[in-house]
């Protein structure tokens, strides 16, 4: 990493300001996402919850879309902050980054307004009308251009996190296009192809944002622990390639129930089991990683990353278990899949992003703010555990009841205690995330011009 950049330079301040805007936008999306998620969960507790503008049909797409928007806005801001430092020169174009921000903000506003007025694509996860994808692709190309032209001098000797960012940037473009192939009759007129390609695109898109987030985490951890070799050693690259293989082919374990060619399942199962290597790596290095001492100035960000490590372990065990076909046939289509998705999105992705944001601002934060954020982190960590367990419990109940051919109303009744726990823990989870998000918005707003 070069340190040639003058941080008091007005241009440097401008590029920091635009990056910070993305991060604030991300936290605003997160606050809205948890609010709509909480309202959506009330439908489980109150079946007669009003079917108006705040009905489950509106709030679930809002919750999901805004959660994904949080991830992309925050990681974009973090990468915009890092790349001038890595390349030792200013961001290629601040106006381009500003245009990117305006388009991304406009996309969020348009999609959210569309959800409120009932304009859906009817596609799982990407429920906004397909024409919005054109704007997304446009601003993503702006991001790629700015990224590549900024880091160009260091590309030949790039550390692994730059490779990860390049991969994430490329595969987001591939998967967002792939997610819209249903617009072609060849895909739309065949439900098996349509569903398979949907899982493929969505699964790999998650892999793409994981690459962006994990790359950012690795960069921060390298600075926090002072381990400058982390980004260049062979093991880091080996796991990067394994991660890339999983990004490309590991989506298949979602499609065991889809009657595609049997080889899809076989490939999926083999690739899923390579996750055991990640698991072994975590287990073998658990003590060493946890005994690592951070530089004192980055203690809080280190705690976020360590908290995420616990969720990586829990979710990896769950992911491997539900990738085994015998188990998958009972668990797929139950809340266990939701537990995996929520555990990964909140426990891993969100905590890692919060850790990276803390890394960026920790030196400028007052100690009383640190304490409040730490309380928020504890609230997230504990409530997420109950939230996650309640979803697994509900999933097990659903799987057992469906196996015994119960009617859906009976299945719902059996799941109710777990869904009540899910909603209750969701309230505390929302409070924790709300506190942390509010504090970060306050920190960023008070220290850096946005």
């Amino acid at each position: 990493m070069s340190t040639a950049l003058n941080h008091d330079n007005p241009n440097t301040m401008k590029q920091k300001a635009i990056a910070n805007r993305f991060i604030v936008l991300g936290f605003a999306c997160l606050l809205l996402s948890i609010s709509f998620g909480l309202i959506a969960s009330f439908k489980y507790l109150i079946p007669n919850f009003p079917d108006d503008i705040l009905s489950f049909q509106h709030t679930r797409p809002l919750h999901v879309f805004l959660a994904v928007s949080w991830i992309f806005a925050a990681v974009t801001g973090i990468i915009y902050r890092y790349i001038p430092d890595i390349s030792g020169r200013p961001l290629y174009s601040v106006p381009l980054a500003k245009t990117h921000f305006s388009l991304q903000l406009a996309t969020i506003v348009i999609a959210v307004s569309g959800f409120f007025t009932g304009h859906f694509s009817g596609r799982e996860y990407l429920e906004f009308p397909p024409w919005i994808t054109v704007i997304i692709i446009l601003y993503w190309i702006m991001f790629v251009t700015n990224f590549v032209l900024t880091v160009k001098p260091v590309l030949k000797t790039a550390p692994v996190y730059v490779w990860m960012w390049c991969t994430g940037l490329l595969f987001f473009l591939i998967t967002i296009v792939e997610a819209n192939l249903w617009l072609l009759p060849h895909f739309n007129n065949n439900i098996v192809r349509d569903i398979t390609v949907q899982w493929k695109a969505n699964g790999s898109m998650v892999g793409a944002w994981n690459m962006l987030i994990y790359g950012s985490t690795m960069f921060a951890m390298q600075q926090i622990t002072g381990d400058s070799k982390m980004g260049y050693n062979k093991i880091s690259f080996a796991f990067y390639f394994l991660g890339l293989t999983n990004l490309m082919f590991n989506w298949g374990h979602h499609t065991y129930v889809v009657p595609a060619h049997p080889a899809v399942k076989q490939v999926a199962y083999i690739i899923s089991m390579t996750e055991l290597a990640f698991l072994a790596n975590i287990m073998l290095n658990w003590r060493a990683n946890f005994s690592k001492k951070p530089i004192e100035a980055y203690r809080l960000s280190f705690l976020f990353f360590r908290a995420a490590d616990i969720w990586v372990l829990l979710n990896l065990i769950l992911a491997i278990a539900i990738s085994i076909p015998y188990i998958n046939q009972y668990t797929h289509g139950t809340q266990i899949t939701v537990a995996h998705a929520m555990g990964a999105t909140i426990g891993i992705n969100s905590l890692l992003l919060m850790g990276s944001v803390t890394f960026l601002f920790e030196k400028q934060m007052k100690s009383k703010w640190n304490k409040t954020i730490l309380r928020g982190l504890r609230a997230i960590h504990v409530s997420l555990l109950f939230f996650w367990i309640s979803l697994i419990g509900a999933g097990v109940m659903r799987a057992v009841a469906l196996y015994q051919h119960y009617y859906f109303a009976q299945v719902s009744k059996r799941m109710l205690p777990f869904l009540q726990l899910f909603s209750m823990s969701g309230i505390f989870l929302a409070i924790g995330i709300g506190v942390v998000s509010y504090m970060f918005i306050k920190v960023i707003s008070s220290h850096i011009s946005i």
Binding site: K43, Y44, P47, D51, S55, F56, Q57, R60, P61, F120, S121, G122, R123, E124, E127, W163, E178, L181, H186, F187, N188, N189, N190, I191, V192, R193, I195, T196, V197, Q198, W199, K200, F241, L244, T245, M248, F249, H254, T255, V257, V258, P259, A260, H261, A263, V264, V267, H332, G333, T334, Q335, T337, V338, R398, H405, Y407, F408, A409, V411, S412
Partner: protein, 116 residues
Amino acid sequence: MKKVATISILLVLYAAYSSWIYTSGTAIAATMTTEAMRGKQLWQRLNCQTCHQLYGLGGYMGPDLTTVITDKGRGAAYARGMMLSGGRQMPNYHLSVQDADMLLAYLSYVNGTQSR
């Protein structure tokens, strides 16, 4: 150089696998009728997947509908009734009989693809 070669090999495998998924890997015998296609459009416009799943893809508020037409204890009449009047948790969308027929045609098509 080794890294670039590894990436290139993976990208070629990914492209080949994707092509196969887009074609013979997901080829099926069942064809979608015009009415079923209209049903699919309605399914998407009403955002039914927010609550219901097809082949495990969708929300969990309501039941999976992949085999609703042939399931014991459910069937087309049950599905039609739910569509036309709603249920305890399902909102009443005030669908017309024609709308319900189109959705049933789509669900029958999906049900028919169940075994390869």
